[in-house]
Symmetry: C2
């Protein structure tokens, strides 16, 4: 195998990854568990919501025309016909010329009324109500279909459900929803230098940090991570674990292997059992990445440096997961910020720079990709396009929050 | 009870809420479950990380001085003494004047070496290595304590752990961490107009959307919501449920009750069993909010309109939860954006306007607080300070993302 990689541009690597995505597999789950999951079918309003014309204030249901010209000094005088009770139809009441009905917030608007005067603008004297401010037609009223009309798309397929969406599902009477199944993502660590978290590293050894980081991020992203432990850098052992993991997983991440020997072995194993589609991406950090396919399933050989692995995961693997989840909008938030320092870059590759956000300023976190502390200290990434030689202090940048 | 509320300013309401916070209760949990939880004790590096001087590239460990002046045309000629194996000490090797040792990425730097030349800048001929580029002292090396020095604070108490932090915990060999217990937050819905999600609303009735929304948000925020169902607007029934919920919960949210009658009853029940500290906040939406305390526990009477309830929850209740969780930095992200329209406001109250983000523009979502669709369509809130009469199109604003 050549010691120089044939690198491809980031968009090509992303397209290769996304091109392998199987269609989302759907399942029906209780609405309680829906937030964070991705809808696979539109949620449709089965009826008008709120379903009846209602008041949005405590006050008096009136005919707007009866309040015209009223003021503190010359109030309109209306006769109160009764009080609407919460949670009941306004049956028996109707508002005729010169009449009104007390109505609480959320109460059903009585027949004949077309507006509500806030109680703060009225004064009651026996049966009579003094209205001290005119209201316009429709004022302080929510119409029966103001929120959603029957048949309307309340939440579209492809949306990752938020806590607010849980409220809308409840309003629609939905106790279950159809969402995409969580993709199962296998993580196999390689590298003779790696020992498990529970071990005390011997000379030349380090604990496997990347697997835990990837697993935690996958959980947050709505996937199910599955660990296969640390495999020594031996072709046969590696192949055996891959063969065991493949039928149990939808995607495989081969993590670690920061040395060239490891990468070469990973590429050989993937090529032997399937095909290597990409070996090397014009991205920094993260150049020595492998994208392959075995038995129709996407397999990634991630670089060993923690920051490199995480950047490649976010830039290349997440778009594949979005597609598998059926998600139309990326989960990652971005925020605008002003760059707090110059960032040099190298033309011909996309660079992802770690930054810390301090009061709207994106402060670059300089440090080698092998360091965990730069990951912990940063809030996100600034992307420097491949045709660009760097970004200047004071530039307006988009920060990909992680 | 007066029909006019005695409103307090937002900072006073927040201080009242936060002032009731009990100290975080701690628990020891497996590190796998740590992301999303809040650390209650510093995580300290028990040893230097990575623990040994290592190479960050594949190449040759050298003495930097031996490569001085080397170039493509006049390479330095070094004798290779062997190869460092991954995961083992570099025992037996040392780099003397004019010598070098092959070293893979992550390998242990041999004695005598002080830099690594990338393999791309070398050529091997038998035992001899041609070095075609000089390296400086320390180049391509990670020192034994470059990531963390033994005894250093790796992750501070008060931090909500991220997926990246899971990697650092692994690197430190931590299999468990001390975090704050999830506060148990009871949700009691009131309002005669409310029916459960499973019911078909009769005339004048609506399904209870707020409880589901609050529960989903509480889960996302790291709390355990506990439902107590819908209580009819009857003093005794309400008091009974509160008495049952109090010993089981750390905080109570009394949700719904959009009418003045409901609010008054809520205030009476809270006053009867404990004390009402605030009744009315100079905030829009969300003015008719109650903050109280029963048996030493914080109790909130949230407004009934969904958007009002959600705004009050985020602005007033979340700071209390932050304190109970021991969290030093608010969970909510903010992003800067340019306002896409004028927003009028009323002096004397803080206004929270729902906005949708479109390519860096915050587009106000106009609509009444009773509508769920404005919540679903928006990405966050823009705060308008109480002394301000509104914000103009084109203003730079901070958007609180939800």
């Amino acid at each position: 195998m050549s010691r120089f990689l044939h690198v491809v541009a980031v968009p090509e690597a992303v397209a290769t990854a996304v091109g392998m995505a199987p269609d989302p597999v759907t399942e029906d789950i209780p609405a309680d568990h829906a937030p964070g999951r991705v809808l696979c079918a539109d949620v449709i309003a089965g009826e008008d919501i709120p379903g009846f014309d209602r008041s949005i204030v405590d006050g008096f249901a009136v005919r707007a025309e009866d309040t015209a010209g009223s003021s503190e000094s010359v109030p309109a005088l209306l006769r109160c016909a009764g009080r609407v009770a919460m949670g009941h139809a306004a049956a028996g009441f109707s508002v005729a010329n010169g009449g009104c009905v007390y109505i609480p917030t959320g109460g059903v608007l009585p027949k004949g009324a077309n507006a509500v005067v806030m109680v703060e603008n009225t004064e009651e004297t026996g049966d009579m109500v003094l209205v001290k401010r005119p209201v316009s037609y429709g004022e302080n009223i929510l119409l029966h279909d103001d929120d959603y009309r029957r048949g309307a798309v309340v939440l579209p397929a492809g949306r990752r459900l938020s806590p607010r969406d849980a409220g809308v599902l409840a309003a629609c009477g939905r106790t279950s929803v159809i969402v995409s199944k969580k993709p199962v993502v296998g993580i196999i660590s390689t590298g003779n230098e790696l020992v498990p978290v529970t071990a005390t590293p011997g000379p030349g050894q380090v604990r496997d940090a990347n697997a835990s980081m990837l697993a935690a991020y996958l959980r947050e992203y709505g996937c199910t991570p599955k660990f296969y432990g640390i495999v020594p850098d031996e072709h046969e052992a590696f192949e055996t674990v891959i063969s065991r993991a493949l039928p149990e997983c939808d995607v495989l991440l081969l993590s670690g292997g920061s040395s060239k020997d490891d990468r070469d072995m990973t590429a050989r194993v993937v090529a032997g059992r399937g095909e290597v589609l990409v070996h090397g991406i014009a991205i920094a950090p993260g150049k020595p990445t492998i994208i392959g396919r075995i038995d129709g399933k996407p397999v990634f050989g991630l670089p060993g440096h923690p920051a490199s692995a995480f950047v490649v995961f976010i830039v290349i693997v997440c778009p594949l997961l979005d597609r598998m989840l059926g998600q139309t909008k990326a989960l990652l938030h971005t925020t605008r910020a002003t760059l707090g320092d110059n960032i040099p870059s190298q033309k011909g590759r996309e660079e992802y720079f770690r930054v810390r956000l301090v009061n709207g300023t994106a402060q670059p976190v300089f440090g080698k990709a092998g360091l965990l502390n730069t990951l912990v200290a940063s809030d996100g990434l600034v992307r420097i396009p491949s045709g660009c030689e760097g970004l200047e202090l004071g530039s307006e940048v988009d920060v990909i929050l992680w």
